[in-house]
């Protein structure tokens, strides 16, 4: 039971920054913003895309957002930056937004709740969704953890979700440790459960079986990408941007894959029956 600030995040959640550097050649620091939100423009195929990452900072002014969590400053900065991109592009082709996702969770804390982290998170999700509706292709690339409120605010509003096939790419509503405490089950029991019940699993291959992943990118070194890895990923991103530009701006594609038809059958069935009853007298 320690109330100490989180320790400096050595080696934690470093993949967001690594991939931002690999894909853009920049560190993405903003002139007057937290060091935790990194933004860089770089060529992607024939066009210029904007890459966005949330990264750890051991000296973040909010101690509960030092290890790659999306906290108050992070979420509001995401909202500000994404909306800024929308206004810059008002009279030109909307740039693609590439969210590089390695977020451990939302920030948990008293200050965060007092100051309305739920609204900050909503503002970030709102900005990404609004950008998508305005015609910006929004692509999430999962390179590390995509946990809970962190993912909802940074990545989950994307037109298309891409993921590296790596054991450290994890998607879930709650960290394993917290879920074990809340459900009073040992971590091993949760892992067993995840093997039987797909949506309970943490690994990205299980997540892929839910039909939510547009492309699972196999055979790439996620920790130390070489030039060939980076080129592969850039190619996948370029293709995803092209797909998104030619497709509806909503999230309907998440229910259209074979995997979704199998695993999210209930999500589809609920919508079908609601539509049937909607106008019935």
């Amino acid at each position: 039971m320690s109330a100490q600030p989180n320790p400096a995040p050595r080696g934690l959640a470093a993949r967001g920054l690594r991939w931002l550097q690999a894909l853009t050649g920049q560190d993405g620091l903003l002139p007057s913003a937290p060091r935790t939100v990194r933004i860089a423009d770089a060529p992607l195929g024939e066009e210029l895309a904007r890459f966005i990452a949330v990264v750890p900072d051991g000296e973040n002014r909010f101690p509960r957002a030092r290890c790659g969590e999306v906290g108050l400053d992070e979420a509001w900065t995401l909202a500000q930056q994404v909306r800024g991109t929308m206004s810059e592009d008002q009279n030109q082709r909307p740039r693609a937004l590439i969210a590089l996702v390695d977020v451990t969770s939302q920030a948990y804390g008293r200050r965060e709740e007092l100051l309305g982290i739920h609204l900050a998170g909503a503002a970030a999700a709102d900005a990404y969704a609004s950008a998508r509706l305005a015609g910006h292709p929004v692509i999430a690339l999962l390179v590390g953890k995509a946990m809970s409120g962190g993912f909802l605010t940074h990545g989950y509003q994307a037109n298309r979700i891409l993921a590296l096939d790596s054991p450290e790419v994890l998607v879930h509503a709650m960290s394993k440790e917290s879920a074990a405490r809340v459900t009073r089950r040992p971590v091993e029991a949760l892992e067993d459960l995840g093997e039987r019940i797909v949506p309970m699993a943490y690994d990205v291959r299980s997540f892929n079986r839910l039909g939510l992943v547009h492309r699972l990118i196999r055979g790439v070194n996620a920790d130390a990408p070489g030039p060939a890895d980076v080129e592969r990923v850039r190619g996948e991103l370029t293709a995803a941007v092209a797909t998104a530009r030619g497709a509806p701006r909503d999230l309907s594609s998440r229910l259209e894959s074979d995997a979704a038809r199998a695993t999210r059958a209930a999500s589809i069935e609920v919508r079908r029956r609601l539509a049937q009853a909607w106008d019935a007298v």
Partner: protein, 274 residues
């Protein structure tokens, strides 16, 4: 005499919000659309999966209410309950795009994602967010958090995305529930058993006084129904679009010396009010 809204179950809450005798439930308990995931874990299912979707009228205009039943699994969002909310909003959007506006009301009473359906709950919540943002461009999306469960997790973002948010004093609204904060950050961070502290942080009155909710209303069926009707006249931009206002407010905060909840009421006083 007051007629408590909080004491009503989700179905009666939806009925109370809609104009008299217009309630028509879609995908109700007789349709038996239950969670496919809970039986695999030995958890009892419910025939409506804890969400009531009803069409009807609000002030004579076509409407849809999605009300979450806090008494079932803490109002948690699973695949089916989440799809019912997202699907209802998507159909309202379709009608709006066809020039037939539908007034959407969300009655939120939820701890967030249902952990037994983890990633499918989270996915549904992202779809709910997407639908609110799209629908809000056509018609106000009105949220009600009455209590006693409150509104937490990813669904607190849904509340914050609403065009207009109505709360009672008994409501709590926050991203992380007090128990989760205590678990993650320690009891020195927050004592979840200390009701006064919890309500001071995230109670309806505090949220309203600091500009994080639009309307504070008594726990009364008539008063809440009236405020829902009034909310559809709103033209103010949704709170989650007011990025500059809140960035400025946040920049004025020193995390090393955060204000007390009471002091925040002065710092973030409701715009246009003394």
């Amino acid at each position: 005499m007051r007629d408590s809204f909080i004491e009503l179950r989700a179905r009666e809450r939806a009925r109370a919000i809609l104009d008299a005798d217009t309630f028509r439930e879609l995908l109700g308990p007789f349709d038996r659309m239950k969670s496919p995931w809970l039986p695999l874990q030995g958890v009892v299912t419910q025939a409506d999966d804890g969400v009531v979707v009803a069409r009807g009228r609000v002030d004579g205009k076509p409407a849809v209410v999605a009300a979450i039943e806090g008494a079932y699994q803490g109002g948690s969002i699973g695949e089916v309950s989440g799809a019912k909310i997202a699907g209802a909003l998507e159909l309202a959007l379709r009608d709006c795009e066809r020039g037939r506006p539908v007034r959407p009301v969300l009655v939120l009473e939820t701890g967030g994602v249902r952990l037994q359906e983890a990633n499918l709950g989270l996915a549904a919540i992202a779809e709910i967010h997407a639908a609110i943002v799209a629908l809000r461009r056509h018609v106000p999306v009105v949220g009600v958090v009455a209590g006693l469960v409150g509104c937490f997790g990813g669904m607190s973002l849904a509340a914050a995305l609403c065009s207009r948010l109505i709360v009672t004093r008994q409501a709590r609204l926050g991203m992380n529930g007090p128990e989760v904060i205590e678990q993650e950050a320690g009891i020195a961070e927050l004592d979840s058993m200390d009701g006064a502290e919890v309500w001071g942080l995230m109670g309806g009155e505090q949220r309203h006084a600091t500009g994080l909710a639009d309307v504070l209303v008594e726990d009364d069926v008539g008063a809440i129904a009236a405020q829902v009707r009034e909310a559809f006249n709103t033209t103010a931009p949704p709170r989650s679009e007011q990025v500059q206002v809140f960035c400025r407010r946040l920049a004025g905060i020193d995390p090393g010396h955060p204000p007390s909840p009471k002091a925040l009421r002065t710092l973030w006083a409701r715009e246009g009010e003394p």
